[in-house]
């Protein structure tokens, strides 16, 4: 029954500061499935994730995102989290002065008790600490971590490990992992890959955005999507991920010239905007 829960994205168009980035994405992710989302830099992969999570700067101009028939686009980011959606960010924000443990205790309480009103009881401290410590040991994270300020002065690798720790604590129905392997050395990617497989069990639907094969080692994709120029242009099985890792995106660009033209335009826009 629980496996029937589905995250359904239909014809999603997203603009940032009035510029269209995503130009019609379709994707259906069931609980228990692993999907890989691949594509060149700037093709719109992170945009898809951030739009699903509800980042206020990402304006949905067309299309729908539904979790079991509930329109996520009507919900604030916190309500989406409470509905069971999680995103591990490529560049998590630092929150100086806020301890990891305090932040996680609030987050975990809210996600487990979606009806909780502000000011109501949090998970009892003792219980929470025990659980957190257990998860940290599983992930080989120093317990000192809990007393540090959220992402403040973290190395790239520490940030990614902190995101995985949050994934472990919050146990969402659906998780989007945006380059959770970047900034990690080979051994750390291996550990991350195994940890993610362990955390998700058979219950979580996972969308993995990655450039590297290693993260998929323990998380073999059931489905691979290729994004180019703000569209998902091709969908296939695990062999598609292998092909792209091996050969890159030249074949894709050749097969989808229209999307490739849009990609060139998007990249130009981006660099033009900065210069």
């Amino acid at each position: 029954m629980s496996n029937s829960e589905t995250l359904t994205i239909k014809d999603l168009h997203v603009s940032v500061e009035g510029k269209p980035i995503l130009r019609g994405a379709d994707l259906t992710l069931k609980r228990g499935e692993t999907h890989a989302l691949m594509g060149p830099n700037g093709s719109g992969k992170s945009t898809l994730g951030l739009a699903i999570m509800g980042h206020p700067a990402y304006e949905v101009t067309q299309g729908t995102v539904e979790l079991d028939g509930v329109n996520l686009l009507d919900l604030e980011a916190d309500e989406r989290a409470r509905a069971g959606v999680f995103m591990a960010f490529q560049r998590p924000m630092a929150i100086p002065g806020v301890k990891m443990a305090d932040f996680l205790r609030h987050a975990t309480t809210n996600v487990r008790n979606p009806e909780r009103k502000e000011g109501e009881e949090l998970i009892p401290m003792r219980e929470f600490r025990k659980e957190l410590r257990g998860k940290m040991e599983d992930l080989k994270i120093d317990t000192e971590f809990a007393r540090r300020y959220v992402n403040d002065g973290f190395s790239g690798g520490e940030m990614k490990r902190a995101e995985i720790l949050q994934l472990a604590m919050l146990q969402p129905k659906f998780a989007i992992l945006d380059e959770t392997d970047s900034g990690l050395d080979a051994d750390a990617v291996k550990l991350a890959s195994a940890s993610i497989a362990d955390i998700r069990g058979g219950e979580m639907g996972v969308l993995i955005i990655t450039h590297h094969e290693r993260l998929l080692e323990h998380n073999r994709p059931d489905v691979t999507h290729v994004m180019l120029g703000g569209r998902i242009v091709e969908t296939g099985g695990p062999e598609l991920a292998e092909e792209l890792h091996r050969d890159g995106f030249d074949r894709i660009r050749a097969d989808y010239p229209e999307a490739a033209a849009e990609e060139a335009e998007l990249t130009q826009q981006t660099t033009g905007g900065v210069a």
């Binding site: 916190d78 989406r80 999680f86 995103m87 002065g97 806020v98 979606p114």
Partner: protein
């Protein structure tokens, strides 16, 4: 070298010390009227049964007050000095009724979980709250070590020589208009003397002091920390201070002698109609350390710049200040470090938060006098602005008359970032919870310096202040 602060600038002209206390004889007769003039000032002194030198000091200060212009900087002060009560007899204060206290103040007391008796004390309805037992044993313990901890009126009567030697030597009435006003009409405040080598382990808290004037409008505090001694004094509380009077102007003087340490912690949360104009200054001598921890919430306008004058080599001054301003509030707060001797070290950390159209200003001075070689000072001021209507300004002044020094200054202004809010919300925190968490994180460097119970109250207070600021 900074002669204006060493006590030479003002010299009371009159000699005879009158130790007699006429207070009991006059009690119940005095009826204050509004306004300030020689007669009122004379009456205040007479009511208190003060020695002649203090009476003359007050009258001299009144002249200075009248001759001084209003400060030309800081906030807008719209005050009719003749429309203020300058001295309310304790019995008048006690006559106020709990029913007169506005409901929002009562509600905040409830939310903060303040005990009934303490609420009335804080609201100025009842002058004393039930801490007599605590206070009694505390006094006994301190007395054994030779520590004096009393209100300044009592100190003038019981320790006339000590008070007279140091009173107004750190902040003379000529310093500024409001210091002069306080000098003319002061009442209450704490007097502390810590003998050489005595280390008071626990913080001395103002509210342990049984004081008939529960909240002086014009408190006068004098703290003397003798050689090698150590004290932490805590004043104020996070509950809103309710009072019917709109002008509060305190003077706090501290002397930290050789190798001594003093920390002075203040948390003030005034009602929104109050002008809170305070002069605080400490002199730190050889290898002594003075720390001000200063938290300002509420009030209509606060102007407060705790200062440390580092008088001798090795002296150290640290000021940690926080301001939270909301609608119709202007916090003009900051700090002053004056290096008068070589090898002195100073640090200022200032944090301000503005919301709902509030305005916070940092105004600070770092001054290095000629010859204060190898001195170091560092200033960090961070402002957090919660919405478009609110405002933050920074006025850092640096005056350096010596080449061989190290001075650092960093300032940052930030809005509560959309990115930070989104990050926390994506983990299930509501927008209000996320904002509160960011603000509490922002002031964490100050809060972690507070005694535990204050830290807890401070965080709760920020939560209350943040309510309704989002959405």
């Amino acid at each position: 070298m900074a002669t204006d602060v060493t006590g030479k600038a003002f010299d009371p002209t009159v000699g005879e010390v009158n130790k007699y206390d006429f207070r009991t004889e006059t009690e119940g007769v005095f009826k204050a009227r509004k306004g300030i003039d020689r007669e009122i000032v004379g009456q205040i002194s007479e009511m208190k049964g003060e020695p002649a030198w203090m009476r003359e000091f007050r009258l001299e200060s009144l002249k200075i007050f009248e001759s001084k212009p209003m400060p030309s900087w800081g906030g807008d002060i719209e005050l009719d000095f003749q429309d203020v009560y300058y001295y309310l007899k304790p019995t008048d204060e006690q006559g106020k009724s709990w029913d007169d206290v506005p409901s929002e103040i009562k509600e905040t007391f409830d939310r903060l979980g303040i005990p009934e008796a303490e609420k009335k004390y804080l609201a100025g309805v009842k002058a004393q709250f039930e801490s007599e037992v605590v206070y009694g044993s505390l006094q006994e313990d301190l007395a054994k070590q030779g520590v004096i901890f009393t209100d300044t009126d009592t100190a003038v009567r019981e320790y006339p020589d000590l008070v007279r030697e140091h009173f107004a030597t750190v902040i003379p009435p000529t310093d500024n208009k409001f210091a002069a006003l306080n000098s003319a009409v002061w009442s209450g405040g704490s007097f502390i003397y810590v003998p050489p080598g005595v280390n008071i382990e626990f913080p001395l808290q103002a509210y342990f002091r049984i004081n008939a004037e529960s909240m002086g409008q014009f408190e006068r505090t004098l703290i003397l920390v003798d050689e090698g001694a150590k004290v932490h004094y805590v004043e104020g509380c996070t509950a809103p201070m309710y009072t019917t009077e709109s002008l509060h102007s305190a003077v706090v003087e501290v002397k930290v002698m050789k190798e001594a340490r003093c920390r002075y912690t203040t948390i003030q949360n005034w009602a929104n109609n109050i002008y809170n104009l305070v002069t605080k200054r400490a002199l730190a001598y050889q290898d002594a350390t003075m720390e001000w921890v200063d938290g300002n919430l509420g009030s209509h306008l606060t102007m407060k710049y705790p200062a440390v004058y580092m008088m001798e080599p090795g002296a150290r001054g640290e000021i940690l200040s926080i301001a939270f301003s909301s609608a119709n509030q202007h916090q003009d707060a900051g700090a002053k470090l004056v290096h008068c001797a070589p090898h002195t070290t100073g640090q200022i950390i200032s944090k301000s938060i503005s919301k709902n159209g509030g305005r916070s200003s940092y105004r600070g001075l770092v001054k290095v006098e000629e010859g204060a070689k190898q001195s170091k000072s560092n200033v960090v001021c961070d402002a957090l602005i919660l919405d478009e209507e609110s405002r933050s300004d920074t006025y850092p002044y640096i005056e350096i008359d010596e080449q061989d020094v190290t001075i650092g200054h960093e300032a940052s202004v930030s809005r509560i970032g959309e990115e930070q809010l989104f990050y926390l919300m994506s983990r299930g925190l509501s927008e209000a919870e996320a904002s509160t968490m960011i603000v509490n994180g922002f002031i964490e460097p100050l809060v972690k310096e507070l005694p535990m119970e204050y830290a807890v109250e401070m965080n709760r207070l920020i939560e209350l202040q943040m309510e309704g600021s989002v959405g």
